[in-house]
């Protein structure tokens, strides 16, 4: 018997799991329309390669990965692309997202271009990862990280590959049903994953409240004779299904803060991902369907195998829910799920559960009070926190918008599991405060980055102007310096010019002096006029010579001028 470890805190939750497991999993009804968001994973959104009006067949690639960290999208069934447009999806922001909308034709016709891998051992691990990438497989436990990246050991040696079948949230039973019904396929998928990672050993971790799944799996593992696979039951404590928590319980190791499980030689995948890997490699089926639990205020809570892109409301109605009395629809579990603002949003690759709340009948979720009381610092949150944070301090500083202090208390190590919130006697929406603080800090950092870029640009421009000015000056200086040696010739020329100017000026001067005053309006006069002028001049000369008073002269002049 393997020694198990514990993580700090956690809470014991009422399971509510029996209802949905009362009947075997069946395929959900074919929806009239499939809505396939381009972003169903962590990373860059996929890029659509079809246009409205295109005929598509089941499994056909309709959007290719947008970057290295991305995943393609495939048509879940055959039909016609109706539109590529914004459509409501499950997102806390309530924003619409670009989706490929397909009108199904009901034929469910597979595309013909499929190539199953007959013997994966013959292919190198990179090829396997390529197949997995091309099948659009992402982490199906909820996070949706592209699986081919998580199956790449890089230069690490992977000691343990953990398959996460803990499924610790209440109501959700899709993984348990998958393990009960498809244990063989999950084990096959696990072996392919082990090959891709070149991992030494594998552990399948299951919570000890899933006795049936555990025994089925154990028997199948024994049948396959894979001695490197261990099936281990772990205590039922929320959030054992968290990656870091499960790794801690099974190996006793802690994933370093800010690091990856790979850093300690561990890789953890969801059981659903293993099943998808099996289908992709052995059957050449891309990820186009998954197991989904529909639970809560519906007449028949159950698990269905659902085509990715099926609108949530179709599934609720298929299970006997009433669209007119819905009050809250949660995608995911009650602890970490997102409440939908629009039930036409589709099931995506990461949707494991649809939890329905209605205004009539039993309301399955005892929610916290709308009016929170002040924090009394009881510390229940710190006792429950699986990361060993002090949520009461985080809350205090988040409320005060002291974003420095809130990071000192390790805000970014919070996994938003909701344990603190669940046990808070003041019924404070703690996780909400933490999300708020995180987004505020991200926004501030984003702004800071933008400001830094702007400042850099400004500084660069200043520098450039300064440099241009300097260069210009230097150019001028150089030019002048270049002109200097040829200066003598130039000065001679100048002197010649100057001399010519001087000569002209001298000529004008002598001319002026020799001509005396030569008013221009006396140039063309009649003889009579000339005579008068001469007379006047004579008088003027006379006056100049005879010393008479000025008045007389003036009078005479006046007389002269007024004939």
């Amino acid at each position: 018997m393997r020694r198990l470890f514990q993580f700090h805190g956690g809470v014991h939750l009422k399971e509510h799991k029996k209802d949905a497991m009362s009947q075997p999993v069946q395929a959900a009804r074919m929806p009239k329309q499939l809505v396939l968001p381009l972003q169903q994973h962590i990373g860059a959104p996929a890029e659509a390669i079809v246009t409205a009006g295109d005929k598509v067949s089941k499994g056909q690639l309709i959007a290719r990965p947008g970057s290295a960290i991305s995943a393609p999208v495939h048509a879940s069934s055959s039909g016609t692309v109706a539109a590529i447009s914004e459509h409501p999806v499950s997102h806390p922001s309530h924003l619409n997202a670009p989706c490929i909308i397909i009108d199904t034709d009901g034929e469910d016709r597979w595309c013909t271009d499929r190539h199953p891998v007959a013997n994966y051992h013959e292919l190198p691990p990179e090829k396997i990862r390529e197949h997995i990438r091309d099948a659009g497989i992402v982490g199906m436990g909820g996070a949706g990280f592209p699986a081919h990246i998580k199956l790449n050991p890089d230069d690490h040696v992977v000691d343990t590959l953990i398959l996460n079948g803990a499924e610790c949230e209440p109501y959700i039973t899709c993984d348990e049903m998958l393990l009960r019904e498809r244990a063989l396929e999950v084990i096959a998928g696990l072996r392919i994953m082990r090959y891709a990672l070149q991992a030494k050993r594998c552990i399948i971790g299951i919570e000890n409240n899933k006795a049936v799944a555990f025994h089925v799996l154990q028997e199948q593992v024994r049948n396959t004779g894979a001695d490197f696979i261990e099936v281990i039951q772990v205590p039922t404590v929320y959030p054992t299904g968290g990656e870091k928590q499960l790794i801690r319980v099974l190996t006793g190791k802690e994933v370093p803060a800010g690091g990856l499980p790979l850093d300690i030689g561990v890789v953890c995948h969801n059981v659903g991902t293993a099943y998808a890997v099996y289908r992709a490699i052995e059957l050449a089926e891309p990820l186009i369907s998954r197991y989904v639990t529909i639970a809560g205020s519906v007449a028949h809570a159950r698990n269905l195998e659902v085509l990715i892109g099926t609108p949530v409301i179709d599934l609720i109605e298929e299970c006997g829910g009433n669209r007119n009395t819905l009050s809250r629809v949660i995608l995911g579990g009650p602890m970490m799920g997102t409440a939908l603002h629009n039930v036409t949003a589709p099931v995506t690759k990461t949707t494991n559960c649809i939890l329905v709340n209605s205004t009539v009948g039993d309301v399955p979720l005892p929610s916290r009070d709308k009016h929170a009381m002040p924090c009394i610092r009881c510390g229940n949150c710190a006792i429950a926190c699986p990361i060993d944070l002090l949520p009461q301090q985080l809350y205090w500083y988040a409320r005060a918008k002291d974003f420095d202090k809130v990071q000192d208390y390790h805000l970014f190590d919070c996994i938003e599991c909701g344990c603190c919130d669940y046990v808070c006697p003041s019924q404070i929406p703690l996780v909400h405060y933490f999300r708020y603080a995180k987004t505020e800090i991200w926004a501030q950092q984003h702004e800071k980055t933008l400001a830094d870029i702007a400042r850099e640009r400004h500084q660069f421009r200043e520098q450039r102007l300064e440099r241009d000015k300097r260069e210009k000056q230097e150019r001028h200086k150089k030019k002048r310096a270049a002109l200097k040696p040829a200066g003598n010739a130039a000065s001679k020329e100048d002197e010649a010019k100057k001399a010519a100017i001087q000569a002209a000026m001298d000529r004008a001067k002598t001319k002026r002096e020799s001509n005396g005053i030569e008013p221009k309006n006396t140039q063309s006069l009649t003889a009579e006029q000339q005579q008068k002028i001469n007379e006047a001049d004579a008088r003027r000369a006379e006056l100049k010579n005879s010393p008479t008073n000025k008045q007389d002269v003036q009078r005479d002049l006046l007389q002269d001028n007024n004939p």
């Binding site: 801690r248 949660i330 602890m335 970490m336 009394i376 002090l390 390790h410 669940y422």
Partner: protein, 356 residues
């Protein structure tokens, strides 16, 4: 279709502040019954006066501060403050002592600091210390156990004593009252008697502490253990208070059993157990990290002993709690737990700071 879209988690354990306060009050019920058995109806009447005053003062202050009244009255914190303060007062205290202490506790120590969740000091202890300093005479008029039974002072007689100060059989409080065991030890040690002489020569001493007091202590202990079992409080503070008091008193007792009272005497006398389980564990004013709570409790235990042994007051519980209340934020700061994924002692170095 109007869908509700709150932030996760979507479920809650259902626990609330009222539930906590009610359970703490319930845990005190056996001790209150024992107290009443030995010391008469005084405590019950004091509790009624104190709770009434606490609720009125709380409502008044909430109204002045323009806060919603109903939810804060219903949270039960004012009721608990009243009950705890009444538990610390001499059973035949005049009514105005109780009223003044409680009003001071609620108005000054709690509401002026911002109400529930914001008071740095334990309101009941602030009220108690105010009374102890302002009315030392009234605060030391304790009656010996069983005297109410011997004299057959009934409920109406007690009411009469508390509200008018007139005793039956033309007795008076001076004739009735006598020192508490802690007080007796303190005074008579000053008269150069040894502890064993003091204990032998006085009928108020029982097996460990005082007659009657011990039994009240037992029931307080039981109530406290129930609170730990119910996860209303954690074991850290009570164990640290009792443990440190035991260790320090054991050390001095071993050094000189004639001058220093036994550890059991210290544990079962005065308000030690009440403080350990009900007063020091007040979440608002106590330390809140698991390790911090241990340091906080140890501080209280040591201070209780120091004040009792070398201070001028016979009991030091209230002062010890208030002094450690002051230290709580600092203790919290230095006792942060190691966060998951960090190396030991390296918690302040934060690789995730400013990440993502």
């Amino acid at each position: 279709m109007n869908l509700d879209t709150p932030s996760s988690p979507h479920i809650h354990s259902g626990i609330n502040i009222t539930g906590i306060m009610v359970r703490v009050c319930l845990a005190l019920v056996p001790a209150i019954i024992a107290y009443t058995w030995f010391f008469g109806w005084g405590l019950c009447i004091n509790i009624l006066i104190a709770v009434g005053t606490a609720l009125c003062a709380e409502a008044l202050m909430l109204r002045i501060r323009q806060r919603p009244i109903a939810p804060f009255l219903a949270d039960g914190s004012a009721v608990l403050t009243g009950v705890l303060l009444a538990f610390c007062l001499p059973p035949f205290s005049p009514w105005w002592i109780t009223v003044m202490g409680t009003a001071f506790a609620i108005i000054v120590a709690k509401q002026l600091y911002g109400g529930l969740g914001y008071n740095p000091f334990n309101p009941a202890m602030v009220g108690y210390v105010m009374l102890l300093i302002s009315f030392p005479l009234e605060m030391t008029q304790w009656v010996p156990p069983n005297i109410v039974n011997q004299l057959q002072i009934g409920f109406l007689d007690t009411l009469n004593i508390i509200f008018t100060g007139s005793f039956p059989y033309s007795l008076n409080i001076d004739a009735l009252s006598m020192a508490t065991p802690l007080d007796t030890v303190k005074t008579e040690l000053g008269l150069n008697l040894t502890v064993s002489e003091i204990m032998r020569g006085n009928a108020i001493f029982g097996d460990f502490g005082g007659v009657g007091w011990e039994w009240v202590g037992n029931w307080v202990l039981l109530g406290g253990v129930w609170l730990i079992y119910k996860r209303i409080i954690t074991w850290h503070i009570p164990l640290a208070v009792m443990g440190s008091l035991f260790v320090i008193s054991f050390f001095f007792f071993m050094l000189d059993p004639d001058t220093y009272a036994s550890p059991m005497f210290h544990l079962f006398s005065g308000a030690t157990l009440l403080a350990a389980f009900f007063i020091a564990t007040d979440p608002v004013s106590a330390s809140t990290t698991p390790r911090g709570r241990i340091f906080y409790g140890i501080g209280i235990g040591i201070l209780i002993y120091v004040i009792r042994t070398w201070g001028s007051y016979p009991d030091g519980v209230a002062f010890a709690v208030l002094l450690m209340n002051m230290a709580a934020p600092t203790i919290d700061y230095y006792t942060q737990p190691r966060v998951f994924g960090y190396k030991k002692g390296n918690t302040n170095e934060n690789p995730r700071r400013g990440q993502n």
